[in-house]
């Protein structure tokens, strides 16, 4: 059997990859995917720790996180569509209207 700490280590690595993705990419859609990657890394930690303490609460929280992620994807992609319609770009650096 694999110890739970291995799962937690994998979760940490995936979360860090998500952080890198948000910071190094300027494409809004890829940044969005990286945020989803971070959400999923935390989900893995929830499931693994729920397994460790023998409780179903972790899985229920994962269920809720998936729901929130779905709502976030719907609203976020609608914002991206509106942004592309107005500016014809998905580059975060070009959205500099509020920059001083």
């Amino acid at each position: 059997m694999t110890p739970i700490s291995y799962y937690m280590a994998l979760s940490a690595i995936l979360f860090a990859i998500g952080v890198v993705g948000v910071l190094v990419r300027r494409n809004v859609i890829v940044m969005f995917l990286a945020i989803e990657l971070m959400l999923n890394a935390v989900n893995l930690a929830f499931v693994a720790l729920g397994r460790r303490i023998g409780s179903m609460d972790g899985q229920v929280i994962v269920f809720f996180v998936m729901t929130v992620a779905a709502a976030e994807a719907a609203v976020g992609l609608a914002i991206i569509i509106a942004m592309f319609r107005n500016r014809e770009t998905v580059d975060a650096d070009e959205l500099n209207l509020l920059r001083w």
């Binding site: 059997m1 694999t2 110890p3 291995y6 799962y7 937690m8 280590a9 994998l10 940490a12 690595i13 995936l14 860090a16 990859i17 998500g18 952080v19 890198v20 993705g21 190094v24 990419r25 300027r26 859609i29 890829v30 995917l33 990286a34 989803e36 989900n43 893995l44 499931v47 397994r51 460790r52 023998g54 179903m56 609460d57 899985q59 229920v60 994962v62 269920f63 809720f64 729901t67 929130v68 992620a69 779905a70 709502a71 976030e72 994807a73 719907a74 609203v75 992609l77 609608a78 914002i79 991206i80 569509i81 509106a82 592309f84 319609r85 107005n86 500016r87 014809e88 998905v90 650096d93």
Partner: protein, 190 residues
């Protein structure tokens, strides 16, 4: 879950996650992320969370990833510069900071002594019945609130993405760019 299987799945997840953030073609990014999601679903099943694992594959890969692909194709976005180009300082700082974060979390989780013990679980752990019993008793209010959240998300998405009658396709002119300025305006988004 046996250790060689876990090692394989973990390596696959990390490679696919790097593929998600490093590829230039957006479709490849989304497909890499779908691979991460399927991989995590299998890991959940290995942890006994069978219902959540299947939900992950059905909801995430089946619905959310298709939404992403649909938007990418709808927008007709070309491959961008990837990780190259502009903001080198931020990228360097981001990579170093993320590596430090990973090292810190890794050390904390890997050295937690209680996480090394393996506990046996009840045979019906993670089944639909067990999950539903907790979900519809202890978390009933949160569950109902979730439906409200989804309703608000649907209304918000439609309000944001629709085009008002008589509204022109472009409100603000695009920022002056050498290459983009000469290209003819792309096909309008439906």
């Amino acid at each position: 879950m046996p250790q060689p299987l876990f090692a394989f799945l973990a390596a696959l997840a990390i490679i696919a996650a790097f593929g998600t953030i490093l590829q230039r073609n957006l479709i490849h990014c989304v497909l890499g992320f779908a691979l991460v999601l399927i991989d995590l679903g299998v890991l959940y099943m290995g942890l006994g969370a069978v219902t959540v694992g299947f939900l992950q594959i059905i909801v995430y890969v089946g619905a959310i990833m298709v939404l992403f692909l649909f938007v990418i194709w709808l927008l007709n976005v070309q491959a961008d510069a990837g990780v190259r180009g502009g903001g080198l300082g931020l990228k360097l700082l981001g990579a170093i900071g993320a590596a430090a974060l990973a090292a810190e979390l890794f050390t904390i989780f890997f050295n937690a002594p209680k996480l090394r013990e393996v506990r046996t679980i009840a045979p019906d752990f993670g089944s639909v019945a067990t999950l539903a019993r907790v979900l519809f008793s202890q978390y009933l209010v949160a569950f109902e609130t979730t439906s409200l959240l989804l309703l608000a998300a649907i209304v918000g998405a439609i309000a944001l993405a629709r085009r008002l009658v008589g509204q022109t396709a472009r409100i603000a002119p695009p920022a002056p760019r050498s290459a983009a300025a000469e290209t003819p305006p792309r096909r309008e988004v439906a």
